[in-house]
């Protein structure tokens, strides 16, 4: 039996042995955590609109985002957010809190290599692709919008 065939068969065999992640419990946890984060965000939004009725809608959104980004960074520093993430999965990754965690966690981790080579260089190792894709996506959308 040649090696390629052997490897293909082995990969098929291994695939059949791998325990599968159960979809429904994962979805439920993600829904719960994601929903809770959004509810907290909405809570802050309502709170700010109650106390500062003069603020515009976009300003209220910014204030709310700043608050939950700060809370996430704080929880990351305390070593709590990774526990939430391990339990909640995509529920904690998709909201802006996941983005905040992906920037603050390497910043904490690589602080030991110094401010320039550690924090500045490594800060966007995980969030970098999101930013690049976001920018490139915006450019494409901009062009499409321009000619329509």
């Amino acid at each position: 039996m040649d090696k390629q065939k052997r490897n293909t068969n082995y990969n098929i065999y291994v695939e059949s042995k791998i325990p599968k992640t159960k979809a429904w419990p994962s979805l439920f946890k993600a829904f719960l955590v994601g929903g809770l984060i959004c509810a907290i965000g909405q809570g802050f939004y309502d709170l700010y609109s109650y106390f500062f009725p003069n603020l515009a809608e976009s300003e209220l959104t910014s204030c709310m985002l700043m608050t939950i980004i700060f809370i996430t960074c704080f929880l990351t520093g305390l070593g709590i957010y990774d526990v939430i993430g391990a339990w909640g999965g995509a529920g904690s990754v998709i909201p802006i809190t996941g983005f905040s965690n992906s920037i603050s966690s390497p910043a904490i981790e690589f602080k030991k290599e110094g401010i320039i080579y550690g924090i500045c260089v490594k800060m966007f190792t995980i969030a970098g692709p999101v930013i690049v894709c976001g920018v490139v996506g915006s450019i494409i959308c901009g062009f499409v919008g321009l000619f329509n």
Binding site: V14, K17, I18, K20, T21, I84, G85, G88, I108
Partner: protein, 354 residues
């Protein structure tokens, strides 16, 4: 032939193991020589913690053997960090002539095998072989920042914090090294870095089969065949692969990665890392062998020889496994137990003094 039978059967004079707090809660907690309360070891970075850990382990093993650092001719060792820095920096502090090795998680068996060959051929009197890993420094190098809120797939394994060292010597003790087998690099085309067990199982299968064949034995001749860190899935795969080669691994088969953690811990498929087989060998196995509970065991440390760069470039994971056969040499060679408990206390008191 890839199996080397050792004519003089050098002795395993002492084994010393040290593990982190999580491993110290596991089923083998009573066998480890020292359990850390603080896994930073009061160092500023985890890389520094890892080398402090290895240094303490090597010194502990030498102390336990009743020797001085100057009595040791060579230090065989390696670790998982880039350029095996933990071992090199440990060797810098200890000033023992250093032979740096790398076989990823199979480093313990590799260094033990080479150390035994050195002593067997009269090239050295006393040699120390050891390795260790640290969860946090390995995560940093191979995976994600510790505080990132990500999920691991069910096939992932948990790099242990801990390690062990053995002193191989001409001086008689209860354990002898009778044969070693250096493994071939085997790659069955697994590319998933979160499924190391499946990548390494074919290598373990190859080495065990060759060792048993070359020694003219069957699997039943061993009280224990112990793989390094295949984990739960990898062990199941190995049993299937061996069965395919008509070698039945029954109750006398176990895996260090499956033994080290409590079932309730969230460690997925079990422990991994170079320190995994090092700590289990130098705690549980050493004590069982020197008491004569096991007569003959086969340690097969398994390693995955990829790097983060090769994985990102889409290469598959080559596996390797080295085997060391250990035998009970008969009791009362030396009064080990008394000596050992006394020496262990010495090590602990020295630590307190620092």
């Amino acid at each position: 032939m890839q199996t080397i039978k050792l004519k003089n059967k050098p002795y395993l004079l002492a084994g010393y193991s040290m593990v982190g707090p999580l491993e110290g809660k596991g089923p083998l907690k009573d066998y480890f020589d020292y359990i850390l309360k603080d896994d930073t070891l009061k160092e500023k970075t985890f890389e520094k913690s890892e080398r402090k850990l290895l240094q303490d382990i090597i010194v502990g093993a030498i102390d336990k053997a009743g020797l001085k650092i100057t009595d040791i001719d060579f230090f065989f060792g390696g670790d998982l960090l880039n350029q095996i820095v933990s071992s090199s920096y440990t060797a810098r502090e200890l000033e023992i002539p250093f032979i740096g090795l790398y076989s990823a998680c199979a480093t313990m068996a590799e260094s033990l095998a080479l150390a035994s060959i050195f002593v067997d051929n009269g090239l050295a009197e006393n040699v120390v072989a050891g390795t260790c890993t640290h969860f946090s420094s390995a995560e940093r190098q191979y995976r994600f920042p510790l505080e990132l809120g990500n999920q691991r797939p069910p096939t992932a394994q948990w790099t242990i914090t801990g390690g062990g060292a053995s002193v191989i010597s001409k001086t008689p003790s209860n354990i002898r090294v009778s044969a070693v087998t250096f493994g071939r690099v085997v790659d069955f085309g697994i590319g998933d870095v979160n499924n190391m067990g499946a990548a390494m199982a074919p290598a373990a299968c190859d080495t065990i089969r060759e060792h048993i064949k070359n020694m003219g034995r069957t699997a039943k001749d061993y009280d224990l065949i112990l793989t390094g860190d295949l984990g739960k899935l990898g062990s199941e795969i190995l049993i299937d692969l061996m069965e395919h080669d008509k070698i039945i691994l029954g109750k006398n088969y176990s895996d260090c990665g499956c033994m080290i953690y409590d079932k309730t811990e969230r460690v997925f498929m079990g422990g991994s890392g170079a320190g995994c087989s090092a700590s289990v060998l130098n705690s549980y196995i050493f004590k069982k062998l020197s008491a004569g509970d096991f007569k003959r065991i086969l340690l097969v440390s398994t390693g995955a020889l990829m790097s983060t760069t090769t994985s990102q470039q889409g290469d598959t994971i080559p596996g390797i496994a080295h085997a060391v056969e250990l035998e009970f040499a008969g009791a009362n060679k030396t009064n080990l137990k008394v000596n050992f408990s006394k020496d262990t206390n010495n090590v602990k008191s020295k630590k307190g003094g620092k």
